[in-house]
């Protein structure tokens, strides 16, 4: 389960690049299809010490269709529809297993407290998490918690005019609650800073973290697929290329840098931002 959770966070990471916390605009669409590859060869135990899997690895492919529509100048509708392929290559010494299918869909609304004349924005986003799958029994990897959930986050974003190439920032702080009796409840944060190198190229860096809390205190070694108590921090670096005023493409690398009771992995992501 830990890996699945990581994948969900990876999704958040590239959506972060796409939206950058700014209003979409009244009557406008923004679509951000993307692909993430994730590979883990070890894990952090409950004390935060890293150990390699004895014989194998865990990997996943994630294809996400995210998007949004500007309902007004201050209100955006957001959605995410993921397709996941989880491959456990004998990471637990039980052989290789694969699970594929739709993941946790997300629909939500973002309300911007700031006005149409602001360079910096504050927004509150509320989302519902809807599982679109049924997990196969162990030892198959799972596609998610198979539980509905809700998410509430506060975002701060903006750009500077003047200064060094008009840098921008986007920060999100939120809580995610799965509605199972044992949750989990997850506190998360994403902090992104970016700068255009010229009219065509942009770079950005993201630091994201999550603290997952649950009454179920599985050890990562006891059950790889159902860890609900964990925490980690991930760093990502992305490069964006503006194709035209409506389309840009992003590619990036990310890696988990700290954690406990969770797999440590890294990966690559590719996404497009299409505005119309």
């Amino acid at each position: 389960m830990k890996k699945i959770t990581l994948l969900l966070i990876a999704t958040v990471a590239f959506v972060q690049i796409s939206w950058a916390g700014f209003p979409i605009g009244f009557g406008r669409w923004m679509l951000t299809p993307g692909y993430n590859f994730y590979l883990s060869r070890g894990y952090w135990n409950q004390n935060g010490n890293y150990n390699s899997y004895s014989n194998g690895s865990f990997m996943s492919h994630y294809i996400g269709f995210s998007g949004g529509y500007g309902l007004s100048r201050k209100l955006d509708f957001l959605f995410t529809l993921p397709i996941e392929v989880q491959i456990d290559n004998n990471s637990g010494g039980k052989g290789s297993y694969l699970a594929a299918g739709l993941g946790d869909a997300k629909v939500g609304l973002s309300y911007f407290f700031t006005d149409f004349d602001a360079l910096n924005h504050v927004c509150l986003t509320g989302s519902l998490i809807l599982p679109l799958y049924a997990n196969r029994p162990s030892p198959y990897p799972v596609l998610g918690y198979q539980s509905a959930g809700g998410e509430l986050k506060l975002g701060f974003s903006g750009s500077a005019t003047g200064g060094f190439r008009n840098p921008y920032y986007d920060m999100e702080f939120g809580v995610r609650q799965y509605f199972d009796s044992d949750g989990p409840t997850q506190l998360f944060a994403n902090i992104t800073g970016g700068v255009p190198l010229d009219d065509s190229w942009k770079i950005s860096g993201t630091l994201s973290g999550i603290n997952s809390l649950s009454t179920t205190t599985n050890d990562v070694l006891q059950n790889y697929n159902f860890t609900k108590n964990f925490d980690y921090i991930r760093a990502a670096f992305n490069v964006g290329r503006v194709i035209n005023e409506n389309v840009s493409i992003w590619g990036g690398l990310y890696a988990d840098v700290f954690g406990s009771n969770i797999a440590r992995g890294s990966g690559v992501s590719v996404s497009a931002v299409i505005k119309f």
């Binding site: 605009g25 009557g27 149409f116 004349d117 360079l119 005023e245």
Partner: protein
């Protein structure tokens, strides 16, 4: 015994005179302290940041914070006076003030909205203590969108302008486009533009076009009063700027200046400079539409201007449905009848009232006669003709671009998408936030990417 200084030398001061001198010295000292501008620092916050109070507001309110910066008690009062457009006082309040050293006094001044008819008001705060004296003022409006529209549109208004447009149509525009490599940039091609307009006068301007393969929307920027145009560049839109006839590169007919343009040939509505000036601006739209091979998207034109340019933009939008949006930034020379009514009670009387009255006096033209001519040219007469989206930016404290006039115009625009952006506390310009709003408004209106 040592003689007092005042008894020595040539001068002798009697006791009464000494008393008078002491009084003068004391008064001078008190006066000096009273004028100490640093003894109090103040902040005033309006209940409505933009100064516009609507039907949901039960009160007009200001919170005044005074900070005593000195080591002495300050005692005095705040006198509040609210006056209407015509300078008539409609509300008074007097609040005593006592502020201990290095302390803060705050007070909410609130006025029941029900006591204020729809309209514009100026609220004065006269702050006086034993060390400080200051007058500050703000302008606010109560339900300005409900102010009864005024304006006089001449009966033959349509015929008059049909004739002007027919005259323009019969003049060969003879467009000339010259790429200026010397001032083009890596991102934009700059062109100098020339065309013929009413009276076969050559009108010139600048066009900046982003270097890209797709067609560019056009921001058509019209000149403020007595200014000259220069190339202006954006990377997401072409920008077309124009020199008014008699100014900059459009002065083949002879140069005009600040004092002469407004009243040139005002004696005749058929010869008045603005008749030709309006046609010049419309010919600019013709230029854009006829020269789309310069990578211009004629289906996405925004026309804009500041001051006089705003009024010209309103005229162009009224006449020409090829305009997809119009932005008026602090329009001047708009609703001149209201301008005179509210301007003449001000001190000093704002431009252009003095200039126009001077012309009328010199040429023995009565004000009624002036208005009869001006009504053909007042953008107010064109307001109901505007059907495209419109954004109007106003500064409530502006006396040359009075918000009252802009609102009277705005209230008569029939466009389904119209917005007004009000800046409450800017005497000489407009808040920078307006330009962020304006930029987003352009993107929204033309469906450009945010």
């Amino acid at each position: 015994m040592q003689q007092p200084m005042l008894h020595t030398g040539r001068f002798h001061f009697s006791t009464p005179l000494r008393a008078v001198l002491c009084c003068i010295l004391l008064a001078a000292t008190l006066f000096t302290f009273a004028q100490d501008p640093t003894s109090i620092s103040y902040k005033v916050k309006s209940y409505r940041e933009n100064g516009i109070y609507g039907p949901r507001d039960s009160k007009v309110a200001y919170i005044i914070k005074l900070k005593n910066n000195i080591n002495d008690n300050q005692k005095g009062d705040i006198k509040v006076n609210v006056v209407n457009d015509l300078g008539i006082s409609v509300y008074n309040e007097d609040d005593p003030v006592f502020i201990k050293p290095i302390s803060i006094y705050d007070k909410e001044i609130s006025i029941d909205v029900a006591k204020l008819p729809t309209g514009f008001y100026t609220i004065y705060f006269y702050i006086t203590t034993n060390h400080y004296s200051q007058t500050i003022y703000y302008v606010f409006a109560v339900e300005p969108d409900k102010i009864k529209p005024t304006g006089v549109r001449p009966l033959d208004f349509t015929t008059f302008w049909d004739n002007a447009r027919n005259e323009l149509t019969n003049i060969n525009p003879s467009y000339k486009v010259t790429r200026r490599g010397d001032i083009s940039t890596i991102t934009n091609d700059i062109y100098s533009i020339e065309f013929q307009s009413t009276g076969n006068v050559a009108i010139r301007g600048w066009l900046s076009v982003p270097k890209r393969h797709k067609k560019n929307p056009v921001l058509y920027t019209l000149p403020d009063y007595a200014t000259t145009a220069s190339p202006e560049s954006r990377t997401d839109m072409a920008v077309f700027t124009l020199d008014a006839r008699g100014f900059g590169n459009s002065a083949d007919m002879g140069k005009l200046d600040y004092g002469s343009f407004l009243t040139k040939d005002l004696y005749s509505r058929d010869k008045y400079i603005y008749r030709a000036e309006y046609m010049d601006c419309i010919r600019g739209i013709d230029f854009i539409c006829k020269n789309t091979d310069l990578n211009l998207d004629a289906s996405r034109i925004i026309v804009t201007g500041i001051g006089q340019g705003a009024s010209l933009a309103a005229i162009v939008a009224a006449f020409d449905n090829r305009v997809k949006g119009v932005i008026l930034d602090r329009p001047t020379l708009m609703d001149m009848r209201t301008m005179f009514a509210i301007g003449e009670v001000k001190n000093p009387v704002p431009w252009p009232i003095g200039q126009l009255k001077g012309y009328c006096n010199t040429n023995r033209m009565g004000l009624d006669e002036f208005f009869k001519t001006w009504d053909y040219f007042d953008p107010l007469s064109f307001a109901p003709m505007i059907k495209c989206p419109i954004l109007v930016g106003i500064s409530l404290k502006s006396s040359t671009s009075p918000p009252q006039c802009a609102y009277n115009f705005y209230n008569q625009v029939l466009s389904s998408k119209r917005e007004i952006y009000s800046c409450a506390d800017n005497e000489t310009g407009i808040d920078a936030s307006f330009y962020i709003f304006e930029n987003n408004w352009i993107k929204e209106t033309l469906r450009l990417p945010f």
